[in-house]
């Protein structure tokens, strides 16, 4: 068992809404070991984005402690690479400039072009975000998140806005890239199949307040087929936990 890259020990994240105090997150306790791919699955409004923002250091209004490589992380840091739901690229800058923008001296990949190649965008270095499709823009965001060689990649439903075909393709590429970069990954998603195809471990979240209802180890070999009997059984299990009716296959 390798060392933990991420240790989350949140007691509570509450927010004042009018006069009421709403608990967005309850007690949340999990680790991500080096090189592991962990998915957070839950319905909309379960607090999974809030949880990811806490880990990214963008939300610090929680009680508890989050550690990256053993050090308390209550602010953003280059040890965490963040991919948001939207690409969030600088619209005036080229693909290369957008990736290069992330470079922090001492941390960074020396070769921006190699990273652009890794995400399959060679030949598009001089294009601006407005000239890219949604999938391509999200690849740029992925390259940008990898520039400073983070210890863990935090992704917030990065493929939610893509069509089915593109999503499947991006999932395969993400798996290839994180395996090659040997970076631990925490993926927030509401797409159960996405979590099954990609993850070593799935954390199923319960709602109001958000908690980890169940953790499921996914022991299947890659590449995975979401229609295989094992995958379907897993999906049924997750769906039961989320109390949604299993869909007909």
């Amino acid at each position: 068992m390798s060392a933990n890259v991420l240790e989350v020990r949140i007691r509570e994240r509450a927010a004042r809404v009018g006069d009421a105090l709403v608990r967005i997150l309850g007690a949340i306790d999990f680790d991500v070991a080096e090189g592991r791919f962990v998915s957070l699955v839950g319905p909309s409004g379960c607090g999974k984005t809030t949880l990811l923002r806490c880990i990214a250091g963008l939300d610090v209004e929680y009680e508890g402690e989050i550690r990256v490589d053993g050090a308390v992380a209550r602010a953003p840091g280059l040890d965490r690479g963040v991919v948001f739901q939207e690409p969030r690229l600088l619209p005036w800058a080229s693909v290369r400039s957008n990736v290069a923008f992330a470079i922090s001296r001492g941390h960074a990949h020396e070769d921006v072009d190699a990273l652009i190649d890794l995400v399959g965008l060679t030949g598009f270095e001089r294009h601006r975000p407005g000239q890219l499709s949604g999938g391509m823009a999200q690849r740029v965001a992925l390259a940008r998140a990898l520039v400073n060689v983070p210890r863990i990649l935090l992704m917030d439903e990065p493929f939610a806005a893509l069509d089915d075909f593109m999503r499947t393709r991006m999932q395969r590429e993400l798996r290839r890239i994180v395996t090659r970069e040997q970076v631990a990954t925490l993926l927030v998603t509401h797409d159960i199949d996405e979590a099954i195809v990609l993850s070593d471990e799935i954390l199923v979240m319960g709602t109001r307040p958000g908690t980890i209802a169940e953790r499921i180890e996914v022991g299947l070999d890659h590449p995975r087929d979401p229609t295989s009997p094992e995958a379907v059984a897993l999906r049924t299990q997750v769906q039961r936990l989320l109390s949604v009716e299993p869909a007909a296959v």
Partner: protein
């Protein structure tokens, strides 16, 4: 973006191909092009021609007194005279210098102060209430005070233009920076960008379209302020030329001066518009449609 990349080929991914040449619409477009080009050319000149005809008729038919208002013909003759004896170019050059000095000084200060107020809460608290109180005072209203302080020399003319440009650029720069997408600021935050990097790489580029729009407004205002300053206290420049022509009853020269201001003003705006298009082509707005 027809047939954009829902199905993308294996990496590298393809952009949508441009429409095939020689397609069914190409021939029709070629046939239309001649008459279309003529119509486009005509649409640029139809209003000026109509105005000149109207002006000519107004003078010829005595709708306006011909002793006080020159006819287009007289203006063309006067323009030729003023151009050949150097009067027009000399005064235009003096005016352009005053304008550019005042505009550059005021704009530079406006961008710096606007950026400071837009990026720093402390600076906003320190400066914004005062500046927003001074803002509604028309720059023209500063002229008497400037003359009292600095006399009728070059400095007071440059300063009045500078004041007009300053407030325009200040207001738009601060607003442009404040309208930056918060999501981009979060990106800079997770990438541990320093404050100067945030300002230079995110906030100012994001505010640039507004800054350039402000520069065009300030340029137009600068011409107006320049002429007022030259009319009030000067013995050179296009404003003086117009005023001198009125006082010594040279109605054609008066209009020559006006036309010179119009042409130079349009040119300065066109140059700024070119600059805006070259630097903010990334914007996906109604105005930037092809």
């Amino acid at each position: 973006m027809a047939s954009s990349s829902t199905i993308e080929p294996t990496a590298p991914v393809g952009l949508p191909a441009p429409a095939a040449p020689g397609g069914p619409t190409a021939r029709g477009a070629r046939r239309r092009s001649w008459s279309r080009r003529a119509a486009v050319a005509l649409s640029y000149v139809v209003v000026p021609i109509a105005l000149i005809v109207l002006w000519d008729r107004a003078v010829a038919n005595g709708w306006v007194p011909s002793t006080l208002v020159a006819s287009p013909e007289q203006v063309v003759t006067a323009m030729w005279t003023l151009l050949t004896d150097g009067t027009l170019t000399r005064n235009a050059w003096v005016s352009i210098q005053r304008l550019l000095e005042g505009f550059a000084l005021g704009s530079a200060c406006g961008i710096v102060v606007g950026a400071a107020v837009g990026t720093s809460r402390v600076m906003a608290r320190l400066l914004e209430p005062t500046l927003l109180t001074l803002l509604p005072i028309p720059a023209v209203a500063w002229v008497p005070l400037l003359i009292v302080l600095f006399g009728i020399g070059e400095l007071s003319k440059i300063l009045v233009i500078g004041i007009g440009s300053f407030f325009t650029l200040f207001l738009y720069t601060a607003h442009g920076i404040r309208s930056t997408d918060r999501k981009l600021i979060e990106v800079a935050y997770v990438l541990e960008k320093s404050r100067p990097q945030l300002v230079w790489r995110v906030l100012l580029p994001s505010a640039l379209p507004q800054i350039l729009a402000a520069a065009r407004i300030a340029m137009g205002l600068s011409w107006a302020l320049l002429i007022v300053a030259e009319v009030v206290a000067s013995s050179s420049g296009l404003g003086w030329l117009i005023w001198d022509a009125r006082q010594f009853s040279r109605p054609a020269d008066m209009i020559v001066g006006m036309i010179a201001i119009g042409v130079l003003g349009k040119t300065s705006d066109w140059l700024l518009a070119l600059l805006a298009r070259a630097t903010t082509g990334w914007q996906e707005t109604y105005g930037s449609r092809p």
